[in-house]
Amino acid sequence: MATPYPFSAIVGQDEMKLALRIAAVDPTIGGVLVFGDRGTGKSTAVRGLPALLPPIRTVRDCAYNCNPDGAATPCPTCGKREPGKGRTRTIPVPVVDLPLGATEDRVVGTLDLERALVDGVRSFEPGLLARANRGFLYIDEVNLLEDHLVDLLLDVAASGENVVEREGISIRHPARFVLVGSGNPEEGDLRPQLLDRFGLSVEVTTPRVVEDRMEVLRRRDAYDRDPAGFHRRWSGQDGRLRSNLRRARKLLPDLVVPDELLRMATELCLALEVDGLRGELTLLRGARAAAALEEESVVQPRHLREIAPSALRHRLRRDPLDESGSTVRVERALTELLG
């Protein structure tokens, strides 16, 4: 594959970058939706993610990237072996692209075509869900993806495992991944049920300041001219983000969330009439991860403030006559609550 554009070379788009880094610190956040203007580097950011993520250790030859130290739901093969034994390898965190034309058999996995044709043997060939285990699954133009595929992905993402029953094969394997979807709202809105199942939702807009736009154009031009050289120039920056991420992951389990912050989160959700607990939970997890990325030991109100728009904007009821839009409504509620 071609050298991807470095994540750290993306100009601006802080909200999107933070959301993706948060999902990398705490994958249980439940996926990231990136919606907004065309030509804002949505898919570029996702493609640049692998360079930021500390590599993972897996069982060698395991098609499902199973953790050698054991997993809650290991794949059929790894389930039979003793944890901590056997050969391992270190691989970059998988960031798997789900192309729009993908067929269901390649997503969930199916019989190995080659072996069936050539040897007449029935064997399972894992699909994209297997490859994405312990990593990210990315869909560009998610609002154009076939409906039944989106449903399938969300079910698997929620349960963390993929169950296949086809061609006389019955298999169950782990598929824990962060779902990242991007799209342009002008191509149609996502179903509300679907929206709600993404943890964070970020809005991206193109830069409106000439200097920023210039910087985007110059970097893009430099990258087009010499992708490898450009990548080298930014590897230091990407490296710093990577170490920060590693430290944040270590900090996360011991982070203190003051009671007052819990109260604030509840009040904010009440004020915005967000139904269900999912909003509140995402808010807290997001704030924790944001604090971890700042390498703090206690979560501060500013972390809540920072993450609230992404955690809540897609959960508000829509009022078309309220010109202000959901982001402004979240900001307003935040100001009333936190001053």
Partner: protein, 587 residues
């Protein structure tokens, strides 16, 4: 060699770096001009450049690629056959009738256009294939149609309308220049050029940076063709090819050129219209501007006047920023977004997938393809018939469009224009907010002064409508006939797509501008009535909302001529209009 001959220049740029300038969407009817242009382009392209035609009905396996079963069996290993997109790697994808390209095909093109590769995950095959392609789109849509998918237009650099009278120039000088640049290269674009392009996007109201990126490359190449460093002339030509066609406004003209009531920039280039009868100041504030214009002054550096002048000189004198073109791509799920419903008998084939043959029509080809690889596994002996299992059976999902299209025709003339527009805007937004459930498309035609225009082409996207509804202007004469005419065109096009269309006209007065755009009460009224009779002839439901204080006889007469009703709503607000539409049983 005349660089200002835009079609020739476009061909030269494509021959030099088709991906860098983003390919082309060439608009014009098929005929000698397009054929001549294609031939001219082919002569300039480097030898061996693949140009693959993308047939309209191309199947996913031919488009993207997939398993080659015969070769796999013969060679005893998996053989993947790349599709048309991969075959065009390093060259061009010729797309005739780009406006009719299916959403499925368009969706498959997006990733290759952005990233230069195809990620194939189909029917037991997984591969990444190079696909450094650029689009050579031939757009044959007419004015009233929506054109190619917007997502595709966004990723296409040059947008050019070809005059049917265009003939290719002598090829030799162009060939020489192209060869010279191909050897020498275009070099790093100077900072000033980058600044100009970055500012141009903002000034012309093009938020996306993709066009600026394409234009930057184009300007560098044009300068190289001229054999000089980039100057306003080169930048202007690049802007004329890539930026101006997608401009949503023009850089601000000096204030004295602006008639006081003409707020939106997109009208700034028109001469102040001679008021046919009444011309009053709008009573209320003009609608709010784009938020992007609210940033502090002085941050946008105006692009040099010469650039705009050069670019403008390339375009017809009466040119103004085009209405936003392109259609919205629709999700591919069956009935998911609610704009289509399954119709086993008459629908068009939308998808083929495994399914129950008792409920849907079996797709024989797909079923056989699905069964073929597993014959050995299933123990079929040579000479026996195929062993087909339930899981092989593929069915066709056929859909037809569902739901209707409400075409609002709004009188934006006279004194009440701004208030009425504001309320209609609210009603349109209310309807669209519910369109998820109601499956309703909404279009908005506005008539004022001397003409009518489609402000919002049929859409179900609230986001899109909101954007288009910003910057409405009001005041001037009442060319009602033009308004009804535009609405009729939309309704006829909508019907062709199988939609139930209806027209809703809002006015508080009588027309005073006729179909030709000329003043005069009598002929204006006659024309409006004639078009209303046309509405009746075509059996298009028609309703008039009369917002005048006491009710207008003419509007009742008009509704009658169109076979519809007039409702007197003197204090029509957004919710009342919406309720009126809903109570007609329209949604």
């Amino acid at each position: 060699m005349e660089l200002r001959d835009l079609p020739s220049l476009a061909a030269a740029l494509l021959a030099l770096d088709a991906r860098g300038v983003g390919g082309i969407c060439l608009r014009g009817p098929t005929g000698p001009a397009v054929d001549g242009w294609l031939a001219f382009l082919r002569t300039l392209l480097p030898e061996g450049t693949p140009v693959r035609k993308l047939p309209l009905g191309v199947t996913p396996d031919r488009l993207l690629g997939g398993p080659d079963l015969t070769a796999t069996l013969a060679q005893g290993r998996r053989v993947i056959r790349g599709g048309v997109i991969h075959e065009a790697d390093g060259g061009l994808l010729l797309t005739p009738s780009m406006e009719r390209i299916t959403d499925e095909v368009a969706a498959a093109l997006l990733a290759p256009l952005d990233h230069g590769e195809i990620h194939l995950e189909r029917e037991g095959c997984s591969a990444t294939l190079p696909a450094r392609v650029a689009l050579l789109g031939l757009d044959e849509s007419r004015d009233e149609e929506e054109g190619p998918p917007r997502a595709l237009l966004e990723r296409t650099g040059i947008h050019l309308t070809l005059d049917p009278r265009w003939t290719p120039p002598p090829v030799e000088p162009w060939m020489a220049a192209v060869n010279r640049v191909r050897t020498a290269g275009a070099g790093v674009p100077p900072v000033e050029l980058v600044r100009t392009m970055a500012a141009a996007g903002l000034e012309l109201g093009i938020p996306s940076l993709r066009p600026s990126h394409f234009a930057l490359r184009a300007a560098a190449l044009i300068a190289a063709l001229k054999g000089a460093p980039p100057d306003p002339d080169a930048v202007g030509l690049a802007a004329a090819l890539i930026l101006l066609p997608r401009a949503t406004r023009l850089p601000e003209a000096p204030p004295e050129d602006l008639p006081p009531e003409e707020v939106p920039q997109d009208e700034a280039q028109e001469p102040p219209p001679p008021p046919p009868e009444e011309m009053e100041e709008p009573e209320e504030e003009p609608p709010e501007e784009e938020p992007q214009q609210e940033k502090p002054e002085g941050e946008v550096e105006p692009i040099p006047d010469q650039v705009v002048e050069v670019a403008r000189a390339m375009l017809p004198p009466d040119w103004s920023p085009p209405a936003s073109r392109g259609r919205t791509m629709r999700g591919r799920g069956t009935g998911r977004s609610g704009d289509e419903t399954e119709d086993r008998a008459r629908g068009r084939r939308k998808a083929v997938r495994p399914g129950d043959p008792r409920r849907r029509r079996v797709d024989l080809g797909a079923t056989l393809r699905a069964a073929a690889p597993w014959q050995k596994v299933r123990g079929r002996e040579p000479g026996q018939s195929l062993r087909i299992e339930t899981g092989d059976i593929h069915v066709q999902i056929r859909v037809r469009p569902l739901g209707g299209q409400s075409i609002f025709v709004v009188d934006a003339s006279g004194s009440q224009a701004m208030r009425r527009l504001g309320e209609v805007k609210g009603a349109v937004e209310l309807l669209l907010a519910e369109s998820y459930r109601s499956r309703e498309e909404v279009a908005l035609v506005v008539f004022r002064d001397r003409d009518a225009r489609v402000l919002v082409p049929p859409t179900r996207s609230l986001t899109r409508a909101k954007r288009l509804l910003r910057g409405l202007a009001g005041g001037g004469g009442t060319p009602m006939a033009r308004g009804i005419e535009r609405a009729l065109e939309l309704a006829v096009a909508g019907r062709r797509d199988g939609k139930a269309c209806r027209i809703l006209l809002l006015s508080d007065g009588r027309p005073n501008v006729n179909r030709q755009g000329l003043g005069g009460r009598r002929s204006a009224m006659d024309d409006a009535l004639a078009l209303a009779r046309e509405v009746q002839r075509l059996q298009i439901p028609f309703v008039v909302l009369d917002t005048s204080p006491r009710g207008m006889d003419f509007l009742r007469e008009l509704a009658g001529a169109a076979g519809g009703d007039a409702h007197h709503l003197p204090r029509a607000d957004a919710r009342r209009i919406r309720d009126r539409v809903t109570s007609e049983g329209w949604t």
